[in-house]
């Protein structure tokens, strides 16, 4: 992208039309304004097209998208044996990294088993998939997309670092509570005897 300054008036005019920005004649006094608007439009455009291009690039990690879709109902396996799903989460989690070839065949079972413990190890998943910059689970290779967005945090949205900070504070707080729960793994029904 050549600097806007060096473009001729005609080119600026064409760019403005391309981005459908209403404009008048390009004159000394109006040019800086239009350059600014073009810059904003380009930055916004770049941000919008980036995630979709990553879609095809990071196919293998499609697995992990299903894992993190946090709209899975929390009701699933909570009452029965909190211990087991929790223990399993560790090996399952590392297992995930190997899954290269058998993606599609495994995706089904993985998804259903993923449901069981999505609610607990929130603390595991979320740090690596800090998809908080985009509202919906557009997690495709969350790491890479987020990195790019950090470099071009737009002026209009809440700055990314603030979001990350808030997220870390909340996560830390929850973790702290979690740690203090004591013997979460053991059967909570013990006392009633």
């Amino acid at each position: 992208m050549a600097t806007l300054r060096s473009k001729s008036d005609q080119e600026i005019r064409e760019l403005l039309d391309e981005y459908e920005i209403k404009h008048g004649p390009i004159v000394d006094t109006t040019r800086p304004l239009y350059e600014k608007k073009l810059k904003e439009a380009m930055a916004k455009d770049k941000k919008v097209t980036k995630p979709s291009s990553d879609k095809t690039f990071y196919r293998e990690e499609q697995e992990e998208v299903t894992y993190v879709t946090y709209r899975t109902p929390v009701i699933s396996e909570v009452p029965s044996g909190d211990g087991k799903p929790y223990m399993r989460s560790r090996p399952e989690y590392s297992e995930r990294d190997f899954v290269d070839d058998k993606l599609y065949s495994r995706s089904r079972p993985e998804y259903s088993s993923g449901r069981q413990y999505v609610d607990e190890p929130h603390v595991y998943n979320t740090p690596s998939y800090s998809s908080y910059s985009k509202p919906m689970p557009v997690v495709k290779a969350g790491g890479v997309v987020v990195k790019e967005e950090i470099t071009e945090s737009s002026g209009k949205l809440v700055p990314l670092w603030i979001q990350l900070l808030v997220f870390l504070i909340v996560a830390g707080f929850l973790y702290f509570i979690f740690i203090n729960m004591e013997s979460v793994e053991s059967n909570p029904f013990n006392r009633i005897q």
């Binding site: 209403k22 404009h23 008048g24 004649p25 004159v27 006094t29 109006t30 800086p32 304004l33 600014k36």
Partner: protein, 90 residues
Amino acid sequence: MSTTSQKHRDFVGEPMGDKPVTALSGIGEVLGNKLEEQGFDRAFVVLGQYLLLRKDGELFTEWLKDTSGANTRNATSCSQCLREWCDSFL
């Protein structure tokens, strides 16, 4: 009409002639000086800029904020002032 200031009503009520830029609604001394520094020393010059921007209120507001450091309220007020003036006299 009750939401507009006296300054606004004074301006849109008659041809602007050679009125200074501070006669515009929303433009006080500070903003007026900034504009004059840029060469916009009369109201009609600012009108000229407004017309160049095709009388687009949003564009003009943005331009005014960038050029003079006006806040949104003042810029919008000026924009509206010019628009009404144009409606009557242009």
